[in-house]
Symmetry: C2
Subunit: 109 residues, 2 copies
DNA sequence: GTATTAGGCCTACAATGCAGACGCCGCATG
DNA sequence: CATGCGGCGTCTGCATTGTAGGCCTAATAC
């Protein structure tokens, strides 16, 4: 297990995909991120992140058939791999370990 | 409020400083990070992060007097500013919002 | 056809993460 | 007092991640 490190944004993207389940293609992912974090990223930004996650085998993707809709182009749906889940769990644990006990200091402003 | 974004590593550093209180100079910070996250970063890495946090006004620092010890050079002690605390709180909230409800999927491995 | 809309991809640059080498300063010890 | 050693700040430079913006295509609508 060669220790995969996720950047913060990559984590966010993975989480959004998980949350969306089988509706996870770029546009809804982007919307989800915006809704949850207020971060309004460009589509291009998202695609590069997704590509890099793919390179690390944290996600896989499949193309859909074209849709019978207004601009119904085929969509690329993403799924988080087990390796991706593991990596996510690891970074979460690391963050939690550091947060633990510090919250109180935050509240004091 | 011009929206300060913290990278993941910067968050970790801030948290370590908070945790160390008034013993927060580079070497213990490094040790703390290693102990909590298993991340064994070079000193240089840490200093650049600290410098950048300084530039964003998330930390301040003061030099100590030289110490009467073997290699007793002066140390640079760091303190998290209110702005730093705010930024930390914000990124934590963002992460939490996304994590919320996803933990269950992680457990299923 | 031509507009309009959804959505994938490419290019290129900025910000962050990280390491290794350098050098200072003070004690120690002969 | 000179040489060495140990603690620690600092500099330079490259690698990885983050982000924007524009281009292109496929499909319906008119």
């Amino acid at each position: 297990m060669p220790e995969i490190y996720l950047g913060e944004f990559e984590q966010i993207v993975l989480l959004a995909i998980l949350r969306l389940g089988d509706e996870a293609y770029a546009i809804p992912v982007r919307a989800e991120i915006d809704a949850r974090t207020g971060r309004d990223v460009a589509r291009g930004a998202l695609y590069t992140a997704l590509e890099r996650l793919g390179a690390k085998a944290c996600v896989t993707s499949r193309m859909s058939d074209p849709l019978p809709e207004r601009g119904g182009r085929s969509r690329r749906y993403y799924t988080v791999t087990p390796a991706g889940l593991r990596a996510l769990g690891a970074s979460r644990a690391a963050l939690l370990a550091l947060w633990n006990g510090v919250e109180s200091q935050l509240e004091r402003r």
